[in-house]
């Protein structure tokens, strides 16, 4: 994510692990040894929360469910079957993963607040169930004859080292994932789920994988926690504070990063433990207060967390003044007359048949039919509110038409999900640009490339090629949020192109651009068409479009008003009336 490569990351993790292991060796007091053990435990919980909520943006208030199930699986397996914790901890992980899958499948139908609240209900429901089952207090039996087999060490530092090993495992896993298709897809979902789906990301599948992994991590560490404490009670493992601590260490340190949860745990866990030890008698509940204040402070002062705050500060210092980058070369070099010739094969690649859509009483699109020929540039125009964007949303599967068919290469795609339509070769951009703002330009485009790439490497190569096509290769490492309007438009074009579309739907790509910029983008779109991409472009005005498109379809009031060559359309009285009003035609006739 942030310039560091995998190797440097691995070295950093290893260095951190060694320092921590050595520090643990010097902790002689059993109280400090316990703290050294608990810090990695909550770091792993934070990483588990982060793997789902940090990357996908779906906030979970219920990670205690996975943690508690892990703890109880281990304890019950050891008590009833005499299972060794060495096997019990992996078992706890498997139980956590299954729980994640079972919880995720129904709950991902929900979004936003509903998702967060539903997640809260799972651990609280389980808490009462385990009390009712009679497991108010499970104690792991002492196994003095086989301490090693049952992880019952005299030297408590060993627990801290095991915890550290688990944490390093979780960190390694996270760092591998965050650079892969997995992490990128989740990040894209977090920033704009609809745009991600339109770029070909199978959002539900990725979210399910994320919650399964997250549940596995939380279950594993829950099992280990049972071994450390030797006693399992429902409030201790299913309680609100467990879910809250997972969320808080991750948010405090920095959401969506490898180091965030670790930083959060290293700062907050010892702080609350020490305060609890010093003041616990005077101020009961001090731990909860510390976590509460920490999260309130983070939200108000640095909602992105400590990691991002420091990272942003460092970036700003490094950038120090040279923020004004020279404009990339090749601007305004395009002249309309130099544009390449294009071949139109005459075969219909995309066809719309009698499509209608109403919202409540409002007929947004009525009985629209059109054919798009391979290699053609078709312009769809119409005044505001004519139903143009609704029409595009029908075409790429965001909404389903009430009636009619949409045929991509002869196959009806009505009812298909947006990512399936994207995979079938229909790419799109948005009227209001929807970049993934916290990702770099290249990463944005890589997300769009996954749909037709077998490997991460291929996706990256396709993305770089797409960036070169739109002329953004020099901006590849900039954050998308920092781009100008024109470059954002180009970025969206690049993201759509990286998925190797056959038909590209462009929604008001020219809106808000100045004179020269319009010419540049027109030249680019024509070059794309010359390479065989069929283009359907929506615009409000005809101004630049007459120089771009082969054919116009004019929408008004949700229906096709006129269709034909640019020269005819601009003289069509019905079109002039729709745009400028009757008065204009009469006055200037």
């Amino acid at each position: 994510m942030i310039g560091t490569n995998l190797r440097r990351q691995a070295l950093l993790i290893a260095a951190f692990g060694i320092v921590y292991a050595v520090a643990t060796a010097f902790a002689e007091n059993s109280y400090y040894q316990l703290i050294m053990t608990v810090v990695p435990v909550w770091a792993v919980m934070g990483l588990a929360w982060n793997a789902l909520s940090g990357y996908s943006g779906l906030v979970s208030f219920g990670h205690a469910a996975f943690f508690g199930l892990g703890a109880y699986s281990l304890a019950l397996a050891q008590i009833y079957w005499g299972l060794s914790p060495w096997l019990g901890i992996p078992l706890a992980g498997v139980v956590g993963a299954l729980a994640g899958l079972v919880v995720g499948f129904p709950t991902f139908r929900l979004r936003g607040h509903y998702f967060a609240l539903a997640m809260l209900a799972y651990p609280l429901a389980l808490l009462y169930v385990f009390e009712w089952l009679g497991y108010q207090e499970l104690t792991l039996p002492m196994q003095r004859e086989a301490p090693l087999r049952y992880m019952q060490f005299e030297d408590h530092r060993i627990y801290a080292w095991i915890a550290l090993a688990l944490m390093i495992g979780a960190m390694a896993l996270t760092s591998l994932l965050e650079r892969s298709r997995f992490g990128m897809s989740l990040l894209a979902i977090k920033q704009d789920e609809a745009a991600a789906e339109a770029a070909g990301i199978r959002t539900l599948a990725w979210k399910l994988k994320a919650i399964t992994l997250s549940g596995a991590m939380a279950g594993t560490i829950g099992g280990f926690y049972a071994v450390v404490l030797l006693v399992v009670t429902p409030p201790a493992v299913f309680g609100m504070l467990v879910s809250a601590q997972a969320l808080i260490v991750a948010m405090f340190g920095g959401v969506g990063t490898l180091w965030g949860p670790v930083i959060g745990a290293v700062i907050l866990v010892p702080l609350s433990e020490l305060l609890h030890a010093k003041l616990g008698n005077v101020i009961p509940g001090i731990q909860g207060v510390v976590y509460g204040i920490a999260i309130v402070a983070v939200i108000l002062i640095a909602p992105e967390g400590v990691f991002w705050k420091v990272n942003d500060l460092m970036l700003r210092r490094r950038a120090g003044g040279n923020l004004d980058q020279p404009p990339s070369a090749g601007a305004v070099s395009a002249v309309v007359s130099e544009l390449p010739r294009r071949e139109k094969s005459g075969t219909v690649v995309f066809e719309v048949r009698n499509v209608s859509k109403a919202f409540g009483g409002l007929q947004a699109v009525r009985d629209v039919s059109m054919k798009v020929v391979n290699g053609e540039i078709l312009g769809i125009i119409g005044p505001n509110g004519a139903g143009k964007t609704t029409f595009f949303n029908l075409l790429n599967g965001f909404i389903r038409p009430d009636q009619g068919q949409i045929l991509m290469e002869g196959k009806n795609i009505v009812g298909a999900r947006p990512y399936e339509i994207c995979a079938a070769g229909v790419g799109r951009t948005f009227q209001v640009v929807r970049p993934f703002r916290r990702m770099t330009v290249l990463e944005n485009v890589v997300v769009g490339a996954y749909v037709h790439a077998a490997s991460d490497r291929e996706a990256r190569a396709n993305a770089e090629a797409a960036l070169a096509q739109v002329g953004l290769e020099r901006d590849a490492q900039l954050l998308a949020g920092s781009l100008s309007n024109k470059k954002l438009r180009l970025l969206e074009l690049g993201r759509a192109l990286a998925g190797k579309p056959k038909v590209l739907l462009l929604d008001e790509t020219l809106a808000g651009l100045g004179g020269n910029e319009v010419e540049e983008v027109i030249a680019l779109v024509r070059r794309l068409a010359a390479r065989g991409v069929t283009i359907v472009i929506i615009e409000h005005t005809m101004q630049a479009m007459v120089r771009l498109v082969d054919r116009f379809v004019v929408l008004n009031d949700g229906a096709v008003l006129a269709e034909g060559q640019p020269a005819d359309i601009t003289r069509n009285p019905a079109v002039i009336d729709a745009y400028l009003g009757k008065r204009w035609r009469v006055a200037n006739a």
Binding site: G481, G514, Q543, R547, I576, Y579, L580, G581, R583
Partner: protein, 235 residues
């Protein structure tokens, strides 16, 4: 009455408006036209305080408008009829009008304003007890305008009153706006894509493209200007 000087504004770091200068005199009817994305709605939102300005000044009635909190601006006499109508759907028509009359002047002249509004838009009187969400698009637009008028404004700002309306309904709305302007002497600032109507009724007009004023002038200068024809029809 309204003096906008070298105004720059936008969302995040990217400016949408670049040095826009616009003047509206008392009693004038001024139209602003231009294609999508030109910054017309952003301009209105900056006047109302929803979008913070980056540079420039806005003066209203001689005072610095930018120093006034957004929710206090309507009390100065600015009524903003937003794009897409934005009536309060769960409130009744009458309650919507009451909300419009939340300003001091609006409360003072409530009975009188209500009568006027009902004469201009009789359908609102008929449907006074209906939830605004249940009205048709044209009726909602009438309600939005009436709601603005209920505040006893000095300046009425209309953002695309014809948006999404069938042509005949839009014509009807236009006629009412013209009648209201003629009848009340209210100052009107209107963003509109139906250029011919907008320029026909307005005393002056501005053409906004890509965040800048590219053309301004009186009614007759603009009506047959090729720049406008080109902006919309590309010829």
């Amino acid at each position: 009455m309204l003096e906008i000087e070298a105004l720059g504004a936008g969302y995040g770091a990217v400016p949408v408006l670049n040095g826009v200068t616009i003047r509206v005199g008392t009693g004038e009817f001024v139209a602003i036209v231009g294609p999508n994305g030109a910054g017309k709605t952003t301009l209105f939102k900056t006047i109302s305080g929803i979008v913070p300005p980056m540079s420039g000044t806005i003066r209203f009635d001689g005072g610095d408008l930018l120093a006034v909190a957004p929710s206090a601006r309507p009390h100065l006499g600015i009524a903003h009829v937003p794009e897409g109508r934005q009536v309060f759907p769960s409130l009744t028509v009458l309650e919507n009008l009451e909300m419009g009359a939340a300003t001091e002047a609006g409360r003072r002249n409530w009975a009188e304003n209500l009568e006027k509004v009902y004469t201009w838009f009789p359908v609102l009187a008929e449907r006074a007890k209906t939830q605004a969400g249940a009205l048709s698009g044209g009726q909602q637009q009438m309600l939005a305008i009436a709601r603005g008028l209920a505040s006893s404004p000095k300046l009425l700002m209309l953002d695309e009153p014809s948006l999404g309306l069938a042509p005949t309904i839009a014509d009807e709305i236009f006629e009412r706006i013209v009648a209201i302007h003629a009848g009340s002497g209210l100052t009107v600032l209107m963003v509109e894509q139906r250029v011919a109507e907008a320029l026909h009724f307005a005393s002056r007009g501005y053409v906004l493209e890509a965040g800048r004023v590219v053309l301004e002038g009186g009614h007759d200068d603009l009506k047959s200007n090729d720049r406008i024809r080109q902006a919309y029809l590309g010829m």
